[in-house]
């Protein structure tokens, strides 16, 4: 455990990703071809920062989270978590890494074993990740109260709980590992709408009170803006625009971001994107995505707002 505590006090970003690429191979009867899922991703997440990865289905956002969770092996590039390179982690080192970086999944119905009571589920996580704790009972009560539930849920089975409660238990289990980084992949999209904001508020609280770094993966721009400090927009495996959440969504520069922002239902909006504007944006997206002269342009230094734009085009 000494190395873990040493790393936690270290300075530098919590997560640092350099030139990360990953492709999947899709094979049909006669040809195999590589489909790029992530292309040359650079991303740094500071300690205690919440960064949202947004994009449509197929943009590569889940692949990036899965690479961080050691569920996928990248083709090339480097991922440092708390200064440690995660490539090739095995055995005890991988286990230790998994305590450090925990994942909250989309489906709280599938991620909890239905045959065990909540107490068993949490006890297992504690035994695995914090074996030094003597009074597991007290620790479990503390965990469920941290996620906003009463200790009575400990004796319940997962099917006796609502979706929101289950997701909170999944988060309590994550906390049992004392992680410094949480990867939350669409944690609210399967929950009833009226309890979604409660789960987002809980994640926010974990950052504020425990200093946990969070990578929030979502397709929902509004919730990304609500929860995160910074947003990175993914399109076809590339981060095409990034910046402080409010500033980025107020002044989106990349055509893809503008297309997304324009499509979010908004009863207060007066300037709707019509079909012709959308077609123009699509054309620009296609042009930029195949352009050989893509360059990062800084829009606003203070808000870390930059866009990956074609060199020849004004933005």
């Amino acid at each position: 455990m000494t190395s873990r505590t040493a790393e936690k006090t270290a300075v530098g970003p919590a997560v640092s990703i350099h030139a990360l690429s990953k492709s999947y191979s899709s094979s049909s009867l006669f040809k195999r071809k590589a489909v790029p899922a992530l292309r040359n991703i650079d991303l740094e997440i500071q300690r205690g920062e919440i960064v949202a990865l947004v994009g449509e289905s197929g943009s590569g956002k889940s692949t990036l989270a899965r690479c961080l969770a050691l569920l996928e092996t990248p083709d090339s590039g480097e991922v440092l978590v708390n200064g440690q390179n995660i490539a090739g982690l095995k055995g005890a080192a991988a286990r230790e890494y998994r305590s450090e970086v925990q994942m909250v999944f989309q489906d709280p119905f599938g991620s909890l074993n239905p045959t065990f009571r909540v107490e068993h589920i949490l006890e297992r996580a504690l035994a695995l990740h914090q074996p030094e704790i003597k009074s597991k009972r007290n620790e479990m009560a503390r965990l469920v109260s941290t996620v906003g539930l009463s200790p009575e849920v400990l004796s319940s089975f997962p099917h006796e709980l609502s979706g929101g409660q289950r997701q909170r238990i999944a988060i309590a289990r994550v906390l049992a590992a004392k992680p410094s980084v949480i990867l939350a992949d669409e944690p609210t999209s399967m929950l009833d709408v009226s309890v979604r904001i409660g789960v987002l508020n809980l994640l926010h609280k974990l950052r504020d009170e425990h200093g946990i770094t969070i990578l929030y993966v979502t397709h929902d721009l509004a919730s990304a803006r609500y929860l995160s400090d910074r947003i990175a927009v993914l399109n076809e495996g590339r981060i095409v625009e990034s910046g402080e959440s409010v500033a980025l969504l107020a002044q989106p520069r990349h055509p893809y971001t503008r297309l997304l922002v324009g499509a979010v239902p908004n009863p207060d909006r007066d300037n709707n994107l019509d079909a012709s504007k959308r077609a123009a944006l699509r054309e620009q997206i296609a042009r930029w995505s195949t352009s050989p002269n893509l360059k990062k342009r800084v829009i606003d230094e203070a808000n870390q707002h930059w866009v990956l734009a074609d060199e020849g085009e004004m933005i």
């Binding site: 906003g148 609502s162 709408v193 009226s194 904001i197 409660g198 508020n201 997304l260």
Partner: protein, 305 residues
């Protein structure tokens, strides 16, 4: 006022088992007028799909309509026999189901499926049906040549547009859309909604729109009913519901969708375990705004995050 296209009065639907009966819809009343878009919003299990299925008379055992009336153009829907229902469905009311894009027959070409619908309900020649199918595809901006395609050759958004076009095939007076854009990406969703608005302008049908997404609902609907536990807890024109909602459940639903502009404010969802029991009948607040009285406190929204 003219006779509404659809009038639901005091509708109660029960799911009956040996030991007990669960009320899927409880004394629900609303009316939809010609050319109007009426939204029913609520979470899973609140009874919104039960209502839609009751209107179409698609409820199966153990569901039973135990009370109330459904009138279409003044005609009693619950009194229709099988033959009348067959003639009435699709000609007068058409429904697009949840994940309808997966409801196309995977082994039949799109064109055949149009022909099937049109000839079953309206008769006529194959050629005439195909011609109508071409018109419909043009209306939803899909190349009529795609009539020869199989469903798997089309994207999710295209299939969804085809299903909507199919629902409009016989110029129904009412279109029921049950979560028509769930599982689609936002940009595709926006296109589908535009398409629906265009079709409505052209064909003039009324819409019963069902979703859990309040921002979508507010953007599309003229009037909205909020459902909870089988009951309507608030009913109002979209603008009033948006800016002056009175029921805490409505506010929780609205608060579940943070805004894309303005300062970041902390929102409060419904706390875990909050339940509204014994929802009372709606009270008239004027201007078409109705709300069920409740002692639950109004949610506080808006401190800085």
């Amino acid at each position: 006022m003219s006779v509404p296209v659809l009038e639901v009065q005091d509708l109660t639907v029960e799911y009956v088992s040996d030991e007990r009966a669960v009320r899927g819809a409880d004394r629900v009343s609303f009316a939809i007028h010609s050319g109007e878009i009426f939204g029913l919003a609520g979470e899973s299990g609140c009874g919104k799909s039960t209502i839609a299925n009751s209107i179409m008379r698609l409820l199966k055992d153990p569901a039973r309509i135990t009370h109330g009336k459904i009138l279409f153009d003044g005609k009693d829907v619950l009194g229709m026999d099988e033959a009348e229902l067959r003639a009435w469905r699709w000609n007068n009311v058409a429904m697009v189901f949840q994940s309808a894009m997966n409801s196309l027959n995977p082994v039949t070409r799109i064109g055949e499926q149009f022909v099937d619908v049109i000839r079953t309900h309206r008769g006529g020649t194959r050629a005439a049906a195909l011609q109508r199918a071409e018109e419909l595809l043009k209306m939803v901006r899909i190349d009529p040549a795609r009539l020869r395609a199989y469903p798997h050759q089309l994207s999710g958004g295209q299939r969804q547009r085809i299903v909507i076009a199919m629902a409009c095939a016989l110029n129904p007076r009412l279109l029921i859309l049950d979560e028509p854009t769930t599982a689609l990406d936002v940009v595709v969703q926006q296109e589908i909604l535009e398409q629906i608005r265009e079709l409505q302008k052209e064909l003039g049908f009324a819409i019963l729109f069902i979703t859990h997404d309040m921002s979508l609902m507010l953007e599309l609907s003229n009037r909205i009913g909020i459902m909870y536990g089988g009951r309507i807890v608030e009913l109002a024109p979209a603008g009033i519901l948006h800016h002056d909602s009175r029921h805490p459940y409505t506010q929780a639903l609205l608060g579940a969708f943070p805004p894309l502009h303005g300062p970041k404010l902390k929102l409060t969802g419904l706390a875990e375990g909050v339940k509204f029991t014994n929802v009372q009948d709606l009270k008239d607040l004027g201007n078409g705004h109705w709300v069920a009285p409740t002692d639950q406190p109004v949610l506080s929204q808006g401190e800085a995050l």
